[in-house]
Amino acid sequence: MSEILIQFKKLNWLLVFLISFLSFVGLVMIYSATYGDDDRVFISHFSKICLGLLIMIAVSLTDLNFIKKHAYLFYLIGIILLILATFYGIVGKGSRRWLNLGGFVFQPSELIKILVIITLAKFFDEKKLQSAGDYIFLILPIFLILSPFFLILVQPDLGTAMVVLLLGLIIFFISGISWKFFGVLSLFFIFSAPYIWGSLKEYQQKRILTLFDPESDPLGSGYHIIQSQIAVGSGGIFGKGWTKGSQSHLDFLPEKHTDFIFSMLGEEFGFLGTISVIGLICLITYLTYSIASKSFSDNFNKMVGYGIISNYFFVSMINMSMVIGILPVVGLPLPLVSYGGSSMISYFIGFGIILSIDRSMRN
């Protein structure tokens, strides 16, 4: 018991504080988003943050070697859950991605992102790739990436599927696979692009086209992105004030407590608000980055660290980019800020792993 207490004291409390603070920002925004409505969303979010923080601490106290050892098993469980969710799950927002496990509804695709990172890290840590002939081994990790990718794609959840693909590529990249591989991959992608485009659903194509010219259909596919940009832009430097955002509160802004929460932040807290949140995200990213890179002894830890922080950072940036009109609207939440349990808890698990890496270095 005292051992756990000692380990508990060794935790990186600065990081814990920053993560909690960002969750608090999310809570503040969700309070505003549901202001005047019923407060169940706010209470539910608050309890999920508490739960998430507890899970994060719990994960941070577990031994990473245990996770590494059973990585493939975890991955298998994750894939089974994903299959169940994809084919037998609960339908919501036009896609089948939730699973009800004894009253607890969660989204296996959020968890699988971390499992993909861990499994790939384990693979590349054990298999050393030197010569061209070794590329035959890449079949397994590619399979590890593509199976969840396709499972998520058919839900359909293009955003999360792309993130899985992106994370796989990042692990490939930092594991030292030669530039030639990425060159070939790029060529492949360029040539297959027309086919990929053709396989996209019409509304997905529209969303991408809308990005280049939102005014072409201001009341249709362009509506959300125009209203979101108006919300952010009208916030100016200081914003309209907490709970005072007219775009948000008069329902011009869609999904204001989930995917578009950053727009509401921009409207109510202005440029100072958005820049502060970006600063916080960058600070968290930088801190975890330095933790991962300091862990020189263990490539597995490093790869897991970079992978997890990439997951967090890129999803954050994709979310912000889509609400301000840099990327198409793909339906990704802002990590730790948006309302949505599974996503938030999976990020807490991720940060738990980072904290565990940090703790293991101090031992």
Binding site: I230, G233, L250, G266, S310, M317
Partner: protein
């Protein structure tokens, strides 16, 4: 070990590249935020503002028009109107279709919607239905949650309390045809009558309200409001009951009734028949209705009391008589033998009484309306002098009454004839003129002004708007002459052989008046010469008009009245009895000296 170190180095290098790309992405996001929130702040600020705020123009309530005793004769009534948010206008067709089960849209309503759609004004609402009935309103309230972008408003619209009675004098309101003030496209302005002349005061000042609406168009709250300022209430000299009485009397005839207050010049009654219902104009009149009125046989849109031109007939003899006394120093006792006709040049001029009046002096000539007496006078009258003299009784001159579209009539003289008929004046025409026939044309208002001026000796001017009492200038006429004329008018009504004896007042008050017969056609002159046709023997439209003008009480004039009954023959038959009834009513109820 070497390999491990190498791998670790690779890993660190790749991680550095990864970190750099992350910084780049962060930079892009921040730049876009900087662009949106700082560089384009005003653009997006405006967009956000126009997203949420909806402007509704608040139209001012039009001022009430009151009669002399503060009874409203034009007021406003509540009108519930259905409006749609302009940004949802593409749903109008579909909305109307859905509403048709509970609200009746006439073709006229639909045409109005089309017009309103074309209007460009600041308002974010378009009216799609006016005059909602209580039933429609209730049914709509039940369904209103299906139409969050529709708004019911309570407007005040013009209502004329007494149907057709005041339509000509008050006029009506409507939309401006060419609207310079686009903001107020829906504002009704006065189109004719008092409504037009006093529009500046009646119209009021518009206001607006800024509303906050959400994305579905549901109004959340009112942000700021500038209340409209209602128009001023206007008090007129009209007397509701007298006007109504006059309209009642004119129900069966086409014609006009004018009553002036001899003390103030106030117009107590300005009636014209047939009339129209100006309430129908208040809500916008349909083309069909409009054409029906325009093409009506008897032209109900014409305000006969100020724009109907009639020969004054024998009522004009009062002016000739005054002229003869004042300007020709006529011996009033001199008698002339009327034989029923008079030869002048190569033409024979007939008296209305075939067998003649025998010996008559001036008073008798007026009392019995003897034409021959005046023909005789005319022989030594210069038309230019008479014309000039007549003008001080408003003949040929607009009275400048305070409503639009008044006509001035014609008081002929030599230069008038040269200009308009390209001919020189024939002396025979003077004979026609002195008995109020021929070229001379006047409005009922002008004849009333003549009577009022004779009755008071003052240059009275008419006004519909109640203004401070003003002293009217004395006319340059001797009391002797005026009294003589008044006395002869008295005998017209109160002496046994006066032409209007049958219409004498049955009350204690006495009236003084003059009958007249206004000839409709030129040829009736020749017919008169060749032996007269009886009025009932000719076509209605060619029959003479019945004219009567009078004032009362005789010794202290209050009311001056003129009645014209079109195509009803001599003045004594129809016009005088109507005047008697209206005057009796007025004297009984409204004889209040200032």
């Amino acid at each position: 070990m070497n390999k491990a170190v190498k791998k670790s180095k690779t890993l660190r290098r790749r991680a550095f590249i990864l970190g750099m790309s992350k910084s780049l992405i962060t930079g892009i996001v921040i730049s876009k935020l900087y662009y949106l929130q700082i560089l384009q702040k005003s653009k997006y600020g405006k967009l956000s503002e126009s997203n949420k705020t909806k402007i509704k123009i608040l139209y001012p309530e039009r001022g009430t028009i009151l009669d002399l005793y503060d009874k409203p004769i034009a007021s406003n009534q509540i009108d519930y109107q259905l409006n749609i948010l302009k940004e949802k206008k593409k749903f109008i067709g579909q909305t109307i279709q859905k509403l048709e089960s509970i609200i009746k849209f006439s073709k006229f309503d639909l045409d109005q919607v089309k017009l309103n759609l074309r209007d460009e004004n600041l308002s974010d609402f378009i009216t799609i239905k006016k005059n909602l009935t209580m039933d429609e309103l209730e049914l709509f309230e039940l369904m209103s949650n299906q139409f969050p972008y529709l708004l019911i408003t309570k407007e005040k619209v013009r209502h004329y309390n007494h149907d057709e009675n005041f339509s000509h004098v008050l006029g009506y309101v409507g939309y401006k045809k060419i609207n310079k003030n686009k903001k107020l496209a829906n504002l009704k302005i006065g189109i004719s009558g008092v409504e037009k002349n006093l529009d500046d005061q009646l119209v009021g000042t518009d206001g607006w309200v800024k509303l906050e609406a959400n994305s579905r168009g549901i109004i959340k709250k009112e942000i700021v409001r500038k209340n409209p300022i209602p128009g001023k209430n206007i008090k007129t000299n009209l007397i509701l009951d007298i006007q109504s009485k006059a309209m009642e009397e004119l129900k069966k005839v086409n014609g006009a009734a004018v009553i002036l207050d001899c003390q103030t010049g106030g117009v107590n009654c300005l009636a014209s028949s047939p009339s129209f219902n100006n309430n129908e104009f208040s809500n916008g009149v349909s083309n069909q209705k409009w054409n029906q009125l325009l093409n009506h046989e008897f032209n109900p849109l014409l305000n006969r009391s100020i724009a109907g031109l009639y020969s004054p007939g024998s009522t004009y003899k009062l002016i000739t008589a005054l002229f003869a006394i004042e300007k020709m120093k006529l011996n009033i006792h001199k008698e002339i033998n009327c034989t029923g006709s008079l030869q002048f040049g190569n033409r024979r001029f007939h008296c209305w009484k075939k067998e003649g009046h025998g010996k008559v002096n001036l008073l008798g000539a007026i009392q019995k309306s003897c034409d021959c007496y005046f023909y005789n006078l005319a022989k030594s009258i210069d038309i230019d002098d008479l014309s000039l003299f007549s003008k001080q009784f408003s003949y040929g001159i607009k009275s400048n009454i305070d409503i639009p579209n008044e006509l001035g009539g014609i008081m002929p003289n030599r230069s008038w004839k040269k200009l308009n008929r390209k001919e020189r004046w024939h002396r025979g025409e003077t004979l026609n003129t002195v008995i109020g026939q021929g070229y001379v044309l006047s409005t009922p208002l002008q004849i009333t002004l003549m009577t009022a001026r004779i009755a008071t000796g003052r240059k009275i001017f008419p006004s519909i708007l109640k203004v401070k009492n003003k002293e009217f200038q004395r006319m340059n006429l001797s009391d002797k002459a005026l009294n003589y004329i008044r006395k002869s008018m008295y005998s017209v009504v109160n002496d046994f052989d006066g032409t209007a004896f049958k219409s004498r007042l049955s009350s204690n008050y006495k009236m003084a008046g003059k009958t007249g017969t206004s000839q409709v056609r030129k040829i009736s002159m020749e017919e008169r010469e060749s032996g007269v046709l009886k009025n009932d023997e000719i076509d209605y439209k060619l029959r003479d008009h019945s004219v009567f003008t009078a004032y009362a009480p005789y010794n202290n004039p209050k009311f001056a009245v003129t009645i014209i009954a079109e195509h009803m023959g001599s003045g004594s038959k129809v016009a005088a009895p109507i005047a008697k009834r209206i005057l009796e009513f007025s004297l009984k109820n409204y004889l209040n000296y200032v």
